[in-house]
């Protein structure tokens, strides 16, 4: 039970990151590697702000910092025509230094003794059974999904969706596709940084390396969600990404619990999940093709 609740909490707190990945990977259709950097960026900003006594402000600072990181990637790609993957890697690499600088040159910061949004909430409202953290995480997650779902129903949201689908058509409809890309990247990375800030306050420390591999974890969550809900509307897609994030944590917790894998195998498992999910259709097609080839060959021999 503790295991389940722990996974549920982590899943909900990592859900904004999965949502961010969903926006850039699935809606904008752009592999954005800024995420690894902006997750740590959110952590670093939140840690500094929380230690100085502003746990709620910390979340907003993280969101703005993440959005600027996404904007940087967007501008590198659209204004300077750098390949989107490379642009993401460049910003991610640069952010490593910036994150260290924010944390005063230290690789990790402890928040022990500082008030976080979780301790603030528990002191304000008494929730029975220690469910306070879970409810707060759920509340934040639902608000983010609601905001994003609404945004993707506005004209700006439509423009972003169409940009990921058919950029030429967007330009022909007199919409600035480059602006759509920058907005989507900012939104995505703002979500990721918010997730970093929440995790930082949850685990009471910030580590400059904790962002590495986040792209894959987020993508794994999105894919797990899609296998359950299918690829339908954007609103369902957002919900499925969040659910995927929770399921990912539960699967992981059980895999580690039954001692199937050592604790450090987290990232390899994530990578394998993503590889299987992405290669599935291709493998299916190859098997199908081989079957047809065999039949055709046999047919020729029989003649």
């Amino acid at each position: 039970m503790t295991l389940l609740i722990g996974s549920l909490q982590l899943g909900l707190l990592y859900a904004p990151m999965a949502l961010g990945i969903y926006i850039t990977f699935r809606i904008l259709n752009m592999p954005d590697l800024t995420v690894d950097g902006s997750f740590s960026l959110g952590m670093a900003c939140a840690a500094v702000a929380t230690i100085s006594g502003h746990p709620f402000l910390a979340l907003f600072i993280a969101i703005i910092a993440g959005a600027s990181a996404g904007l940087a990637t967007g501008l590198l790609h659209t204004k300077l025509s750098i390949h989107p993957i490379l642009a993401g890697i460049l910003v991610m690499t640069g952010l490593y230094t910036i994150n260290l600088a924010f944390m005063g040159g230290k690789a990790n910061l402890s928040l022990v003794g500082s008030q976080t949004i979780f301790s603030a909430m528990e002191s304000m409202i008494a929730v029975p059974g220690g469910m306070g953290k879970t409810l707060l995480a759920l509340f934040i997650c639902i608000i983010i999904i609601a905001i994003l779902a609404i945004v993707f129903k506005t004209r700006v949201g439509f423009a972003i969706r169409a940009t990921g689908d058919n950029e030429d058509m967007v330009r022909l409809s007199s919409i600035n596709a480059n602006a759509s890309k920058c907005i989507a990247l900012s939104m995505g990375n703002a979500c990721v940084a918010l997730s970093g800030a929440l995790i930082c306050q949850y685990q009471m420390f910030s580590d400059v390396n904790s962002g590495s591999g986040m792209v894959i974890i987020g993508l794994a969550s999105v894919i797990i969600g899609e296998t359950i809900f299918g690829r339908r509307s954007v609103t369902i897609g957002l919900v499925s990404a969040a659910v995927g994030s929770i399921l990912y944590r539960i699967i992981l917790a059980f895999a580690l619990k039954i001692d199937m894998f050592p604790a450090y195998s987290l990232k390899l498992i994530s990578a394998v999940i993503v590889i299987i999910a992405l290669s599935g259709p291709t493998i299916k097609a190859v098997i199908q093709q081989n079957k047809i080839r065999r039949e055709v060959n046999n047919h020729l021999i029989n003649k």
Partner: protein, 263 residues
């Protein structure tokens, strides 16, 4: 309303592959003109469209739309007053968006301000437009465009291009990828929409018959130049054979495109 003044464009200038796509093109369009453009492959027909719509910037000359110089304007800004339909039905629509979402997106530039992109008033308008297409699409407004046939997609794209009452409509062989029957249907819809809204239109086609049948003016291009520009009586008397003879006499070669020969 549209003026091209000494418009030139050269690709790969100074290299062995140098190609003069447009060679001092001069063209003046009156409001309400429907111009059909013919010519063999590589004659510069699509380059004219690319220059007008801003897919590339011209090397010299000027492009004026309603006396405003748009030569150096970004493509998406020019698209505010222009609709462009490509040959490939896949190019004009976003496949994972529904019909109504695609229309709403295209309508964004001229629609009333509203918080949500889809609202009742616009949807009623879209339904009315779709009904006029007579393809039954008004009952499938929540269908993803990716699930439509090429002809249906092209019809939706045609609506998207004209929904915001553009000043200029550019049709780039928009029926070439369709089967003859669907092509006829799309041409009919084109004719209806253009006649009703009186949008100034330019249409590239390889089908000389429809080039002469549709619109009020026909232009023939070759090697980046306009070699023939007919309208009025001269045009109504023109036959396909005469056009082909004119071409071979003028350019000392045959029109090799079999689609033209078969037309």
């Amino acid at each position: 309303m549209l003026d091209l003044i000494n418009v030139s464009k050269t690709f790969f200038a100074g290299t062995i592959n140098e190609k003069k796509a447009l060679n001092s093109i001069n063209l003046h369009l009156e409001p309400g003109d429907f111009v059909s453009i013919i010519g063999s492959n590589g004659a510069g027909k699509s380059s004219v469209f690319n220059a007008i719509s801003g897919a590339f910037y011209i090397d010299s000359g000027a492009i004026l739309l309603d006396n405003k110089n748009i030569s150096m304007m970004a493509d998406y800004k020019r698209a505010y007053d222009m609709g462009r339909l490509m040959q490939d039905p896949m190019k004009g629509t976003a496949p994972s968006l529904t019909i109504e979402e695609n229309l709403a997106l295209a309508y964004s530039r001229k629609a009333h301000k509203s918080f949500f992109a889809l609202n009742k008033r616009d949807l009623e308008y879209f339904r009315e437009l779709l009904t006029r297409l007579d393809l039954g699409l008004e009952k499938r407004m929540k269908t993803k465009v990716g699930n439509l046939s090429g002809g249906q997609r092209q019809a939706v794209t045609l609506l998207m291009c004209t929904i915001s009452s553009p000043k200029l409509l550019l049709l780039d062989e928009h029926t070439a990828a369709l089967d003859p029957e669907t092509a006829q249907k799309i041409l009919q819809i084109t004719r209806d929409i253009v006649a009703e809204s009186k949008i100034t239109t330019m249409m590239i086609t390889h089908d000389i018959r429809s080039a002469l049948a549709l619109g009020n003016r026909t232009i023939m291009m070759d090697e980046g130049e306009i070699i023939l520009d007919i309208k009025g009586e001269e045009r109504s008397k023109m036959t396909i054979e005469e056009l082909l003879t004119y071409y071979s006499r003028e350019r000392k070669k045959q029109l090799t495109d079999d689609r033209i020969l078969l037309a």
